[in-house]
């Protein structure tokens, strides 16, 4: 069941539209941050009562102009959103869980560390350099990236290698739309993603070879399921979820979906990836969700959907086999794990 978002601000008029119906393209909402009730407050009055004091503080900080821009952005609504044929109709994971249970080791290895610390990251101004083997390689401002293609809502399953999963309504656009803009050369066989690293505000201990990097084969990167996400639950991406722009590759384990990307590089050779460097016998370059490939720490045969008590079986390619299995024809996925 798809739960509908409570609408915030002025636009209340598309609540009754059937799913899949084309939506009217409206003028982007120019709502003042002060007009917006954060969604979790809207939905959870108890928490609102507890947080009321903090909000009051935030309000006064706003008045003084001292509140960081990132926090204002974190409640900004993204509109309009196109529905997607790739969306699942499974029940959504609560936004509280999506934004409080994160692996973002730059901000600490505890699941709630990113929620606590990620606000220190400034996500404006932000640029993404698209470089390497491309005819029109160049640097994009985040505001331009938001206009590369119409923003879509993509409700995807997310399967973490730690054997938990979520269903998240991402907001984003196909990575292919950006890559087409820069015209990749024929020699470009892979795409490398480099993420933001600022030792002043992030983890300085070398638990991973910072900055965190990830990679895809070019056909994986061009696949219509692969998106760059700029939001979730209809709102601007919270910092702990990888603001202002992150990768989402739903048929691979979550760590492939790099957060807070600053460089996208087209390369001829397979790029090194952060977890593969940290533990090559555990994390391969491909890291497709695969219940058949055993992992030394977690069973990959089953998973716990956050919010549920019983485990459920893990699906090959996280249930996206119909769309992506052909990419790996003739490959031994136990070798190329």
């Amino acid at each position: 069941m798809r739960t509908f978002l409570p609408h915030i601000g002025r636009s209340q008029d598309n609540d009754n539209e059937p799913h899949g119906a084309p939506m009217l393209i409206r003028r982007p909402a120019d709502i003042l941050p002060s007009e917006i009730t954060p969604q979790d407050v809207y939905r959870h009055r108890r928490r609102f009562m507890r947080d009321a004091g903090a909000l009051a503080l935030a309000g006064s900080a706003l008045a003084l102009g001292a509140w960081p821009r990132t926090s204002m952005a974190s409640v900004r609504k993204l509109e309009p959103l196109l529905p997607s044929e790739f969306s699942t109709d499974e029940g959504l994971t609560e936004i509280e869980s999506v934004t409080s249970y994160n692996n973002f080791y730059e901000f600490g290895t505890g699941k709630t560390d990113p929620m606590t610390h990620a606000h220190k990251m400034q996500v404006r101004p932000w640029t993404v350099s698209v470089e390497g083997l491309a005819a029109r390689a160049r640097t994009f401002d985040i505001e331009d990236l938001l206009r590369i293609a119409p923003l879509e809502e993509r409700i995807y399953r997310l399967r973490c290698v730690e054997a938990w999963s979520m269903v998240i309504p991402w907001v984003g656009f196909p990575l292919s739309a950006l890559l087409k803009e820069v015209e990749p050369l024929g020699s470009a066989k892979y795409v490398e993603f480099v993420t933001h690293y600022d030792p002043e505000i992030m983890n300085r201990r070398p638990i991973i070879d910072w900055p965190y990097t990830e990679g895809l084969r070019i056909d994986e990167a061009m696949h219509p399921l692969t998106i760059l996400s700029v939001g979730l639950y209809g709102q601007v991406l919270p910092n702990q979820n990888g603001a202002p722009i992150r990768l989402v590759v739903p048929w691979k384990y979550g760590f492939k979906s790099a957060k807070s990307i600053v460089t996208i590089r087209l390369t001829e050779n397979e790029p090194a990836t952060a977890w593969n460097k940290a533990a090559p016998q555990e994390y391969g370059f491909y890291s497709n969700v695969n219940p058949e490939v055993r992992h030394p720490r977690w069973t990959q045969a089953t998973e716990r959907r956050i919010g549920e008590l019983r485990r459920r079986p893990t699906l090959m390619f996280n249930g996206y086999g119909d769309q992506v299995a052909h990419l790996y024809q003739g490959m031994d996925l136990k070798t190329f794990y």
Partner: protein, 231 residues
Amino acid sequence: MSSSSLLAGLRSPAPALLVAIRIAVFTACLAPALLLANEWFAMRLGANPIEAVTHATGDWALRMLLITLAVTPLRRFTGLHWLIRLRRMLGLFAFFYASLHFAAYVWLDLYFDWGAIALDILERPFITVGFAAFVLMIPLAITSTQGAMRRMGGQRWQALHRSVYGIAILAVVHYWWLVKADIREPLIYALILAALLGVRAWWREQERRRQLAAIPGSPSFKGKVIRIVPK
């Protein structure tokens, strides 16, 4: 009460005081379990409460194990010999939390999927050693009574209960191998365990030397040579 009489009271507490201490320690040891249960039912354990319970019970099993191993060194350093009378309770609490940890895994996490549990134990090294540590604790818990100690005889009982050192090592390795990166926390437990085992090794070595030194003719014999030579 003057400080010297307080000290004297601590050195050999009255039976009533000892009972009070035992009740206080028991309550303190049980408190984490009660708080955890309360958080569970109040749904305050975050997005993945099963993981939270599994981790918390595992943490406390390891902590109680190390506290139990700290009793003997603490007793020798402070001279508070009655501390030994808390050791069995502390050890049983270590087993209690290990049992909760195992139950959380078998029941909450895998819901009695014995096939998956068997695969875990066989295939995942951190679970193999964790399971071994738990299984090895069972005979210690069973033989923790006065009656068992009497039936076994002091020496055999002590020999069996020395396996707690191995269990503690397995437990720390279990935690170490579980973490993906950032081994700081398991490292802290490992250092504490190393100190607790190291002080015992040192005592043993001192004892060996002392015994050696008491044997006339040994290279380290330090006793006075009393010649009994007829004049």
